[in-house]
């Protein structure tokens, strides 16, 4: 097995798999179980100010979007930051860090945007021996109504200000957790960079209403007669997270700030994708809330085998390996031409490619081959859009074939050029 040792802003852990700040990391009992299972580190569930503990609802805190087979595709929650006493949390953190010196323990924090409030909490956390702090500027429900969480993360100046306080009043490595509920996540990330943060983590949960109970005619889930929006996470949000991650990883103004990737990571493959787009480590929550901590075993095994197959010797080689493959639309090669092709041996003749193309796209798939039911691509109509590939229920039955240089695209009647040409170079672009 390859060594998966991960170094995230100086915090060394046996693997890059962390648990996100959330219910699974609310107390020592859970965290000890997570470490026993093999997790590399935890972001301790967000601590707030000293004083009377917060109160959570005693109604449903979670809602879900299920696939037909009850696969949990998306989860939302309205749980607040920890509702346990600050002192208990701090003493547990001290003990856990003592018991697990090789694992990462970073404490998530959320206090009002007042300098003194941050000074107070920073001192308390420094005394625990924790490896760092994560500033919760992402939580989109409840706390944001009180001027914290996402309410801070949505204002880059606040992000910068609080990050700067943290760096000024403490030596702890500082991670800023970003909210996706913002038009351009790079602005908040730049705030973190400008404030001196050591890293950013993203994405936090997305504002969401899970559904409506049509029998009771009220949103679902609801606490009694009403519900409020929650934070959405789980497999369904992964594409959104990958996009935001790649935006920050490619942003010059973010200056290569280390990133901790979060958002629907369920298995080693998801984790590897986040790392390939620029995450140094990853944080998991929904997957363990669905299956328990034991899934980390598959993640460790799978990532290790993958890296070996790729000829890599450390997780560092994976970080950002695919980042350059992400660009803007304007940079795409307009001379790259593909045509769909259907493998007749694996085609089951369901006709879905045809009806999707016929009704909604380019009428490029015929329904008969030699007078019998069968589906074939009409190259002269195919724009290579990939719709048939994605609706086909049989994996690899429909594939895209790249036209060779010099081959004639029967749709445009033009010869495929070997030269790269993007929109900015295109003769039809009158904006240039």
């Amino acid at each position: 097995m390859i060594d998966l040792t991960s170094n995230f802003i100086g915090i060394q852990t046996p693997n890059p798999f962390w648990l996100a700040s959330a219910p699974p990391t609310d107390k020592a009992y859970n965290v000890n179980r997570a470490f026993e299972a093999g997790w590399g580190g935890v972001m301790w569930k967000t601590l707030g100010e000293a004083g009377l503990p917060l109160v959570n609802v005693s109604g449903p805190r979670y809602g879900a979007w299920h696939g037909k087979d009850r696969t949990l595709m998306g989860l939302n929650n309205i749980e607040l930051i920890t509702d346990r006493d600050l002192e208990i949390n701090l003493s547990e953190i001290i003990q856990v860090k003592k018991d697990w010196p090789d694992r990462g323990v970073v404490v998530s924090l959320m206090v009002p945007c007042e300098e003194q409030a941050w000074i107070d909490i920073l001192r308390r956390v420094e005394d625990t021996g924790a490896d760092g702090i994560e500033l919760n500027f992402g939580c989109p429900h409840g706390m944001s109504e009180r001027g914290m969480g996402a309410a801070v993360g949505q204002v880059p100046e606040y992000v910068e200000m609080v990050a700067a306080w943290c760096k000024q009043y403490s030596d702890l490595p500082t991670i800023v957790k970003l909210t996706p509920n913002i038009t351009d996540i790079r602005t908040a990330a730049r705030g973190a960079v400008n404030g001196g943060a050591d890293a950013v983590s993203l994405i936090n949960t997305i504002n969401s209403v899970m559904g409506v109970d049509l029998d009771q005619m009220k949103m679902s889930p609801s606490v009694g007669q009403q519900g409020s929006h929650g934070g959405y996470c789980g497999p369904a949000v992964k594409p959104i997270a990958l996009h935001m991650l790649s935006e920050i990883a490619r942003d010059a103004e973010c200056k290569g700030i280390p990133i901790s990737g979060i958002g629907g990571i369920t298995d080693w493959r998801d984790a590897a994708e986040f790392m390939a787009l620029g995450a140094t480590n990853v944080q998991v929550c929904t997957a363990v809330m669905t299956y328990g901590f034991r899934i980390v075993e598959d993640m460790i095994d799978g990532l290790s085998r993958y890296l070996t197959e790729q000829g890599m010797t450390s997780v560092d080689q994976l970080i950002g390996a695919a980042t350059p493959s992400v660009t803007t639309w304007n940079q795409l090669d307009l001379n790259y031409v593909v045509k769909a092709q259907i493998d007749q041996d694996s085609c089951i003749k369901c006709g879905r490619c045809h009806i999707a193309c016929e009704d909604t796209s380019h009428q490029a798939i015929s329904t008969e081959i030699n007078g019998e039911r069968g589906f074939q691509v009409k190259d002269e109509d195919c724009v290579g859009c990939n719709l048939c590939v994605v609706v086909c229920p049989v994996e690899n039955c429909i594939t895209l074939r790249e036209l060779d240089t010099g081959e004639v695209d029967t749709r445009t009647r033009e010869m495929v050029s070997a030269d790269y040409q993007n929109w900015t170079q295109h003769p039809n672009n009158t904006m240039v």
Binding site: K68, D69, C350, G351, R352, R373
Partner: protein, 449 residues
């Protein structure tokens, strides 16, 4: 009291009976476990919702299978049942009794992919049962047209025709020789396929449309003449079954213990107490179709010790599907292929054995199978109805019809098992009844205009 020890439930068996009450119940309970709500949704989700779906093409009634399955996936079972029943008013029976493995499920594209077709039959049953439980109503009658149609036979063809005609506003009178409606659904299908008196429940649902009168115990040609029907009604639909079992043409066929399989099944289906049916020890069934399979399995399940199906050709030639054959074998039925019965052995007017010739060997030797109960399941033919001077054009003893199910007699339609070229499936009879009703409707309404 004599007590047999050989029964699977371990319960004591009263004298004169083969099995305990629990065994009878278990052996004749529903053969397929119906899907529960959750498994129905999961199974529905496996459906690819094909375009121009092969399953729909394979269904003799043309049910829009992908649509009804999609509705089940959306927990709209009643809507799904509506889709089914609009094409096939006996969708409930067909869901239970159709040989889906040779029809819709055989055509499912999933076979090509992973050899596991969508369980269309079970899904159809789930939707139709659910709608029936909820008392959902799908049809309303058009304004009355004043036209009256006579239907002969309250089986799948007749009831399907009656329902469609009633929906279109016509008045229908059905003449049924038996005491109950349903035809083979009530009297012919294997008991474990139609558990819980389903045939009557379905008939009730069908008749709830209104406008249909059924006259039971009335034989056309005896109790009422065919000419009367022609005179008194605007159209006549013949939906009769095949009432006459074919003979083996062997000496001794009249011996005691030689029984027509359909007659025995009729008796079985109507039996208040299965323990009172007479059951032999060494059973031989002659035939290779569904009826042969059905009688073989049912007599085995009634407690017969040895059951052998004898068929004159090979396994691939049998009318019963390979799945049905497999089912019989799993039930402990022995199947003898290439067994051509050549003579019956009797003692004092009672069957004692059948002599077979090995049909696949030229001049092959013969052998004797001892039996105390011999079932004939070699097919049925149309019982001639006394039509006085009127005669249909027939071929192979069945009514010849055109593609609108019209016979050679003006004003007379026919469908189901009684027409030439029929495949003897309930689902095809339903389709015939439906198409005939549409043709009758067009004829009646056009002549009016």
């Amino acid at each position: 009291m004599t007590v047999f020890s050989s029964n699977s439930s371990g319960q004591s068996v009263p004298a004169g009976r083969r099995l305990s009450e629990a065994d009878y119940q278990a052996n004749f309970a529903d053969i397929h476990t119906p899907l529960d709500a959750r498994s129905a949704v999961v199974e529905a989700d496996r459906c690819y919702y094909c375009y121009g779906a092969p399953c729909q093409t394979a269904c003799p009634t043309g049910i829009d299978v992908p649509s009804f399955i999609r509705m089940i996936g959306q927990k709209n079972e009643v809507g799904a049942a509506g889709v089914i029943l609009s094409e096939n008013i006996m969708g409930g029976t067909c869901a239970r009794a159709c040989p889906v493995e040779t029809l819709c499920e055989d055509a499912c594209v999933r076979n090509t992919e992973d050899d596991r077709p969508i369980q269309i039959g079970l899904l159809q049953r789930f939707a139709t049962d659910r709608a029936s439980e909820l008392g959902a109503k799908f049809f309303t009658r058009e304004p009355e047209t004043g036209h009256r149609v006579a239907i002969v036979g309250a089986g799948p063809a007749g009831l399907s025709c009656a329902h469609r005609l009633a929906t279109l506003g016509h008045e229908v009178v059905v003449y049924e020789a038996q005491e109950k409606s349903g035809g083979l659904n009530e009297y012919g299908l294997a008991a474990y396929k139609m558990a819980g008196d389903y045939a009557q429940k379905e008939v009730e649902d069908i008749l709830s449309i209104g406008g249909i009168i059924i006259k039971h115990g009335v034989k056309v040609g005896e109790d009422v003449s065919f000419a009367e029907l022609q005179t008194n009604y605007d159209a006549v639909f013949m939906g009769v079954g095949l009432g006459t079992s074919k003979a083996m043409q062997l000496d001794g066929e009249q011996a005691s213990g030689v029984i027509n399989a359909v007659d025995y099944i009729h008796q079985l289906r109507q039996a208040e107490d299965l323990g009172k049916l007479s059951v032999g020890q060494n059973i031989v069934v002659i035939g290779g179709g569904m009826t042969a399979i059905d009688i073989a399995i049912q007599i085995k399940r009634l407690g017969a010790a040895n059951v052998t199906m004898a068929y004159r050709r090979g396994k691939e030639h049998m009318n019963a599907s390979l799945e049905e054959q497999e089912f019989a074998l799993n039930e402990g039925v022995h199947i003898a292929h290439w067994a051509q019965p050549v003579s019956l052995h009797t003692e004092q007017g009672t069957i004692t054995g059948v002599e077979f010739k090995k049909a696949n060997i030229e001049g092959g030797e013969t052998y004797i199978m001892p039996t105390d109960m011999l079932f004939k399941a070699i097919g049925q033919s149309l019982t001639p109805i006394n039509m006085a001077t009127i005669e249909f054009v027939k071929s192979y003893g069945k009514y010849e019809v055109d593609d609108e199910l019209r016979t050679s007699l003006p004003g007379v339609w026919a469908g189901g098992d009684c027409v030439a070229g029929s495949d003897d499936l309930a689902v095809s009879a339903v389709q015939d009844g439906k198409l005939a009703a549409l043709s009758i409707h067009n004829t009646l309404t056009q002549s009016q205009a």
